[in-house]
């Protein structure tokens, strides 16, 4: 039996954009045909092996990241990704626009997902000189997750299906992903997510960088200075007498107005509130689904190739794993796909592959 081979019959590149509320992710499959394109977007991402890639120069936050791609059985490919903070992406798009004004090029088609792909469609199409093929956000997320999670199978053990994927970006979606490709359902969600954490950090402290805030919280923050503890209500002795740990949290941030909490304490308490709540929702949902592991993805988990022990992402992941362990009494495992932030972009690329006409 012959396998299907996808070709660049119309010369369109494999580029996927995930335009989220806080950051924009771009994934692409380098290809000979991409190399031939004169479009500046293709130029930006051309030759990703170069360390000083044009994308980084134009505002992309992260170094080029290479992922093995399993989407095509005949041609194993690598997918490369860049990501931007939302305002930086606007700068990037302006650069692309200026470039196209100097040297007009025909439009290319790009797969796009995320809220911004819908909301800002016209502006992005105009600035980048592209035509956006909209891919459903959860479809992109789950197909990207599938690729990424399966890449762990060899080292970390197989993926259980149905899988519970908690995507924590601006807001939170809890998605049940089935074993079959394209099978997924949003089963729950929450408005208490990354943006709530960051919005409150901004309103309550002087921190301006997510990484600095989270790192400071880890290093010197004591959430007990901001949270109302059982000991604050009953007194330490009575707490002991009635068999409740005095340092157990009774009310998150209930002691804020006492004014004793430093900025680092406040961030630590906010992080504990948001991650504890996420862990609790995830554990309940996992129990309802009868599964033993939960996956966390999305910008809040910040796993974009960071591997340093003290990175902000690592701190958030630890907190989430701790919350899941607490609410499940250690019975449910927490897993993170290696490239949590980029799943939407990966999924969008996958969709652009799927969209190609198949030839035998």
């Amino acid at each position: 039996m012959s396998t299907s081979t996808r070709t660049f019959s119309d010369g369109q590149p494999f580029i996927g954009l995930d335009i989220g509320g806080s950051c924009v992710k771009l994934g692409y499959v380098p290809d000979a045909s991409t190399a031939r394109l004169e479009h500046p977007l293709a130029a930006v991402i051309r030759d990703p092996s170069k360390s000083n890639c044009l994308g980084t120069e134009w505002g992309a936050k992260n170094a080029i990241r290479k992922l093995e791609w399993f989407g095509d059985s005949e041609h194993e490919r690598a997918v490369y990704a860049l990501w931007f903070l939302a305002p930086d992406f606007i700068g990037f798009a302006k650069r692309v626009k200026e470039d196209r004004e100097l040297k007009p090029t025909p439009k290319i088609r790009v797969s796009a997902t995320g809220g911004g792909a819908l909301r800002l469609r016209a502006e992005i199409e105009e600035m980048l000189g592209v035509e956006l093929l909209i891919v459903d956000e959860l479809k992109a997320l789950t197909s990207g997750w599938r690729v990424d999670a399966e890449s762990l199978a060899e080292s970390d053990g197989p993926v259980e299906y149905p899988a519970l994927v908690c995507n924590v970006g601006t807001g939170v979606s809890l998605v049940s992903v089935g074993a079959a490709h394209g099978e997924y359902e949003r089963v729950s969600g929450s408005g208490i997510g990354g943006a709530t954490f960051w919005g409150l950090v901004q309103r309550l402290t002087l921190f301006t960088s997510f990484g600095d805030a989270v790192t400071a919280a880890k290093q010197s923050g004591d959430p007990g200075q901001a949270d109302t503890l059982v000991g604050d209500i009953y007194g330490v002795d009575t707490s002991k007498a009635i068999g409740m740990p005095a340092d157990l949290v009774a009310g998150f941030l209930g002691k804020l107005s006492a004014g004793k909490a430093t900025d680092a304490d406040v961030v630590a308490a906010l992080l504990r509130m948001v991650t504890s709540n996420l862990g609790q929702l995830a554990v309940f949902q996992a129990r309802l689904m009868g599964v033993n592991e939960v996956w966390f993805t999305g910008g809040f988990v910040l796993c974009v190739g960071e591997r340093q022990e003290d990175s902000a992402g690592r701190i958030v992941r630890m907190a989430l794993a701790e919350a899941v362990s607490f609410w499940s009494a250690g019975k449910i495992q927490t897993r993170f796909p290696p490239d949590a932030l980029l799943l939407g972009a990966l999924g969008a690329v996958a969709a652009s592959l799927d969209a190609l006409p198949q030839t035998t």
């Binding site: 601006t170 807001g171 107005s257 504890s276």
Partner: protein, 750 residues
């Protein structure tokens, strides 16, 4: 809004504006305080106490509810000190005890002990909450309700059987949130909780806005717009995300809009307050729903100081439960929500009222207080009066049963008509008393004009409050406001204002009794006799001092039975089938008949009694159920026993029926003009078991209540539409008649 309380003289009304210092003088200083419990929470201290009195305005026991700000704990302690002073003589060897629960029970325990000089026994908080909730759900008629902004408060009919109460989940929202699963009496488990609760709301809001009082914060949320600080689904997608059922107006991320320059959100403190309220409520609703799913529970009650009857909070919790359960589950709220812990602690005491004997309570609103101790709440709470017996359901009642015909909360026209009619009739009562129309001549019978005026002021104030806030006392029904009228009369020390009138009219009617029965006995056929007796029963029902339209004729003596019979039209046709009843009697007859009687005087003597006499002659045992306590000119059990005895002296047939115990008089358990067939005196229920016919006499018992009641046996309703509201509700005219026989197998709703 004004709240009343009555001082010990009983005749003078003391009005106090809400929010001012409350009157600590209790309505009845002769009451003995038997049990006291206190629940000291983070913001409110709640006191529940139980009193007994053998004389005066009520007999038996009474539960009282009182809330104080924890910041003013001294007031609360002073209040309890007075209660302790009024408590019973201590039993030798048994020290007086105050039951205490809540976080503050530990913290302030030593203080209470030293200042009150009594033992303080601390009861576990969760145990108190569940015990209190179980008790209140069983004993308070309108305890449980659902809430949404669109539909308002909807009361959920109480569950009669204990097994229906369980299992349920109680989500108690204080500083933190505890989720309890309750599977039976005393059987509960804390299955989950979250620390993202009232404390978080308070802490964040205070820090972000500087607002310092809880009430001010709740007030702030009312005008806030959360979309100015939250990131909405529409902010992200520009539109709905239909595929996963998210609307553009759904919240994507709480507080997610405050730092996004592109969104350019301008916001105020009120917006932040609303956003945080939504965050906390939505999250609690979601966690509660997930727990309910995991434990297979369908009933979720919400309690705790975070709610405090605050409409927006309840709306948000309801919305969250409705959203996550896709409309399958409704969030349930409680009128006594703040008092669950204190009530439960009281019941855990050794001499608790429910330990001594099984009993039923009736809520008495004559002295009502706002439930949350502030203006934010939607409910007011009365006292709970204990009956001597546990009231029971009529065995022949088909379920579901709703005693009331009209929901006055939903029907604005009926509501304003009834409220103003009752206020008018209250003024008329004052007029009657002032003219001496209710006196019998002797000075000891004289109705105290001062007390009647006091009653009039008190009752009018309740009517005004219900006009402004129809659901303040639970579901608003004619039965409820007529019952409240009697409660107010008793509370000012007017036990039975119509006593002399009733005696006078009964004596007159008894004189006419022999001639009346002779006339029907003389009719040639049984069928004609039945029809004549039904006609007399309808005519007798015209004699009602509760009907303003008839008071003039009654007071002048212009109305006699023959004249009243002239007015009976047997219309509308659909509500009158006396021939069908007559045919049925001729065909078979009944073994045991239960008759709920109405007015004293001509009604019961010349209308009901001859009909009962006839039924007894056919071989039936007839049980006459009369009010346990006075209401308007309704005949009471004691009066009816006297009437039957007097009539038997002049009528052999009656005497024989009495002797053979085929004519019985029993108390109904009711203390108002309407009757709730779920709450009957157990002695009556015992007599009613074999009944194959239930007869309801009079507008209040057959139309205003029980118009839609269905029975597993035959039923007969006999009444006259004596006011416009009732006639309108049934599509009839004033003075139309209701003489409706419904066979047991009939599916037709009357």
């Amino acid at each position: 809004m004004m709240f009343g309380s009555i001082n010990s003289s009983g005749a003078v009304i003391d009005c106090i504006a809400e929010g001012s210092a409350f009157d600590i003088v209790l309505p009845n200083q002769t009451e003995r305080v038997q049990n006291i419990a206190v629940d000291i929470g983070g913001s409110l201290a709640k006191v529940v106490y139980y009193t007994t009195a053998t004389t005066g305005r009520h007999s038996g026991g009474r539960l009282h509810f009182k809330a104080f700000e924890t910041d003013h704990l001294d007031q609360c302690i002073e209040f309890m000190r007075r209660l302790v002073d009024r408590s019973s003589e201590p039993t030798p060897g048994l020290d007086p005890v105050i039951m205490a629960t809540g976080g503050g029970a530990h913290r302030f325990g030593a203080d209470l002990r030293s200042r009150l000089g009594v033992e303080i026994r601390v009861v576990d908080e969760m145990e108190s909450l569940t015990a209190g909730l179980n008790f209140l759900m069983r004993e308070v008629a309108d305890e449980v309700f659902t809430y949404s902004e669109a539909r308002g408060q909807k009361f959920v009919s109480p569950v009669a059987e204990s097994e229906d109460l369980f299992p349920y989940m109680l989500v108690n929202i204080g500083s933190g949130v505890s989720i309890l699963k309750v599977t039976g009496e005393g059987q509960y488990e804390r299955i989950s909780g979250t620390s993202l609760g009232g404390g978080t709301f308070w802490g964040l809001l205070h820090e972000l806005t500087g607002v310092t009082s809880f009430d001010a914060m709740l007030e702030t949320t009312k005008s806030g717009d959360n979309t100015k600080v939250d990131m909405m689904v529409g902010d992200i997608y520009g539109t709905n995300y239909d595929k996963i059922g998210l609307k553009a107006t759904n919240i994507a991320a709480t507080m997610g809009g405050v730092y996004r320059k592109g969104l350019d959100k301008q916001y105020s403190d009120a917006d932040i307050a609303r956003s945080l309220l939504y965050m906390v409520s939505n999250n609690i609703g979601q966690i509660a729903y997930l727990n309910a799913q995991l434990h297979g529970i369908r009933r979720i009650y919400f309690g705790g100081y975070f709610i405090r009857g605050h409409p927006l909070t309840m709306h948000t919790l309801s919305y969250a439960i409705d959203f996550w359960s896709k409309g399958m589950i409704s969030a349930l709220f409680l009128r006594h929500e703040g008092f669950l812990g204190a009530t439960g602690a009281l019941l855990r005491g050794e001499a608790a009222p429910t330990r001594r004997r099984a009993c039923s309570f009736t809520e008495n609103f004559s002295v009502a207080e706002p439930a949350a101790g502030d203006s934010a709440g939607v409910s007011a709470l009365g006292m709970l009066d204990q009956q001597a017996e546990r009231l029971e359901r009529l065995p022949q009642l088909r379920l579901p049963y709703v005693p009331d015909t009209v929901d006055l909360a939903a029907d604005e026209g009926q509501r304003s008509a009834w409220l103003s009619a009752l206020e008018r009739s209250t003024h008329e009562l004052v007029g009657l008393v002032e003219r001496g129309a209710l006196d019998a001549g002797s000075s000891e019978d004289r109705v105290d004009v001062g007390r009647v005026r006091a009653f009039s002021t008190l009752y009018a104030r309740h009517l005004h409050r219900l006009g402004a806030q129809p659901l303040a006392y639970g579901a608003l029904t004619v039965r409820g406001i007529l019952g409240l009228r009697e409660q107010c009369l008793r509370e000012v020390g007017l036990g039975d204002v119509f006593a002399a009138v009733k005696r006078r009219e009964t004596a007159a009617a008894l004189m006419a009794f022999p001639e009346c029965v002779a006339r029907t006995d003389g009719l040639p056929t049984r069928r004609e006799r039945v029809l004549a007796l039904l006609g007399n029963a309808l005519a007798g029902n015209m004699f009602d001092w509760g009907a303003s339209e008839l008071q003039g004729a009654l007071a002048s003596g212009a109305l006699d039975l023959a004249a009243a019979r002239e007015r009976i039209s047997y219309s509308p046709q659909r509500l009158n089938n006396p021939e069908a009843f007559a045919d049925n009697i001729i065909a078979g007859g009944y073994g045991r008949v239960l008759v709920f009687v109405d007015n004293s005087g001509a009604d019961v003597v010349l209308g009901v009694l001859p009909l009962a006499r006839f039924l007894a002659q056919t071989g039936a045992t007839v049980v006459l159920a009369a009010n346990s306590r006075p209401a308007l000119n309704d005949v009471t059990e004691g009066e009816l026993k006297h009437i039957v005895g007097e009539a038997a002296k002049v009528d052999k047939s009656l005497a024989q029926a009495l002797e053979e115990e085929r004519l019985l008089v029993c108390a109904s358990g009711s203390a108002g003009p309407c009757v709730d067939l779920r709450r009957l005196d157990p002695r009556l229920v015992a007599l009613a078991h074999a009944a194959d016919l239930v007869v309801l006499v009079g507008m209040a018992r057959a139309i205003v209540s029980n118009y839609h009641a269905r029975f597993t046996c035959d039923s007969l309703r006999i009444a006259v539409f004596k006011n416009k509201m009732t006639a309108d509700a049934a599509g009839a005219n004033v003075f139309d008649s209701l003489c409706l026989y419904v066979p047991k197998d009939s599916n037709a709703k009357s």
